[in-house]
Amino acid sequence: MIERHPVLDLACHAVLVLGAAIVCMPIYFAFVAGSLTIQEVQQVPLPWLPGSHFVANAETAWNKGNFARLFINSAIVAVGITVGKIAVSMLSAFALAYFRFRWRMTAFWLIFASLMLPVEVRIVPTFESVANAALPLQWVVDELDLAGWWEVLTGNRIEIALQWNLINTYSGLILPLIASATATFLFRQFFLTIPDELCEAARIDGASPWRFFRSILLPLSTSNMVALAIILFLHGWNQYLWPLLFTTDKNMATAVIGLKHLIPRSDMEPAWNIAMNAALITMLPPVVVVVALQRWLVKGLVDSSK
């Protein structure tokens, strides 16, 4: 602040309090509704103060929504996306920044191209790829007419049908979301700022590339990794479209998808108290992460977008 300006300062506080109130309002009303009985939640107007059934509703929601199972699924998917994406992109960033080989620029541009298109735009073909990840192999088999050759050679007619279904599997939920370039470029940018002397010294000492990666690059990247991991965890936990498409088995759904089934539709009992309670339960893990690791989150966001 440069000069004292009491009126403006007061106005600023007022604006921020108002902003904070707007952010909290939906969460507060979810809390109020989540602590009422089903009769109370249908009162008009809704009470301003919470009732006494929060714990009971939480239990009902937890059991009714099968959240014990769904939370495990969400955790596996979120951690899987986080670890997978960081591992895959760190390795390829290492290759791009530290290795001279013939197809380096081609690899770079292939990865770069994927930066340009969000997965949401190819819903149907991506779904088909997950429904049968062996599709490209099948295509090769069909194009080369391997079955026909086999028939010519041996006289036996066979059908070659390759199938690798990832629907309702953790790999189906995790793998398609690991395919993104942002993290690769983040690590590449970071590697390019590391002094060359470190690598030279390691090479003079006879360290293998893997040794250099493990003993020098990995420890140096910790802070970037943590910052990115927070964002990826939130992103993974809050996924919606892919779990919606790739899970037909209720036991494989994630918490956010399970929550959706508890929302009252017009032909259902209006159990908004249970639904709002479940919404609070589902948002709890990411909220805890953000509150606890706020500073890292901000670093990760600002880094990963440049």
Binding site: F99, R122, Y240
Partner: protein, 303 residues
Amino acid sequence: MAGRSRESGLKRAHFVEPRVAALLLLPQLAILLLFFFIPSIRALAQSFLLADPFGARVQFVWFDNFTALFRSPEYHESIWVTVWFTLAQSALTIVIAGVLAFATDRVIRLRGTYKMVLLLPYAIAPAIAGILWAFLFNPAVGPIAHALRAIGIAWDPNLNATDALILVTLAATWKHICYDYIFLVAALLAMPPSLLEAAAVDGAGPLRRFFLIAMPMISPTIFFLTVMNFVYGFFDTFAIIDAVTRGGPAGATNILVYKVYQDGFVNLDLGSSAAQSVVLMLSALTLTLLQFRYVERKVNYDV
């Protein structure tokens, strides 16, 4: 081993073990191939084909899917809904985030607390944000719907198209303000204080300094955020739409990404869905290029 002329994007001290490099790149490229390149190419191929829903007959139809798409009144409506929704959401988000960031930059006491609270929606899934707002505005039980009725506004997002659009716009904005806010606060804090002090000595008040000095200096951030808000509005609001309105009533909130899903999975019109995918890919491409062309000068990608 160090190269004669320095290759860009390659460390001066590097390894020459092509096989190791190939192994390191393999996982990334394999996943990209399976879940990015093949689906993209298939979407492109499918957009030129006409298949009956059971996949028995497939015909190459050139641009028929696209001409049919651009002739269909529903697609026009979907485009308009997307444009309005995205514009309203982007404008609201950046203006509110700007006011909050300006205020945060000025206050000293409680700054940490304000930032912590304003950051909260970042943690909340878009679908959940949608559900929370759907409850507040639910015509039967929602407190805001009740308040609206009390002042004489008949509110029903299940029947009224405008109400539904307002509802999803508010939910989308609420979820996204924190994102713009973080970047604007960071940009304002990074401004050199000497500039502002000089202006203050010359007699410029805080608001004048904000509009004449801070705004132009952080304009790259503002532009970047505008592009990001568009990307968000176009692609990341699928969950809000599906959880709150499912595109209804009568297509009033059927934004383009949601229509791709509906036509592909619900109506099984694969050719049209693929053509829509291609149109969306082109718009995503444009947005990304804009972002790199005008904003990402800091990052050097000229390899």
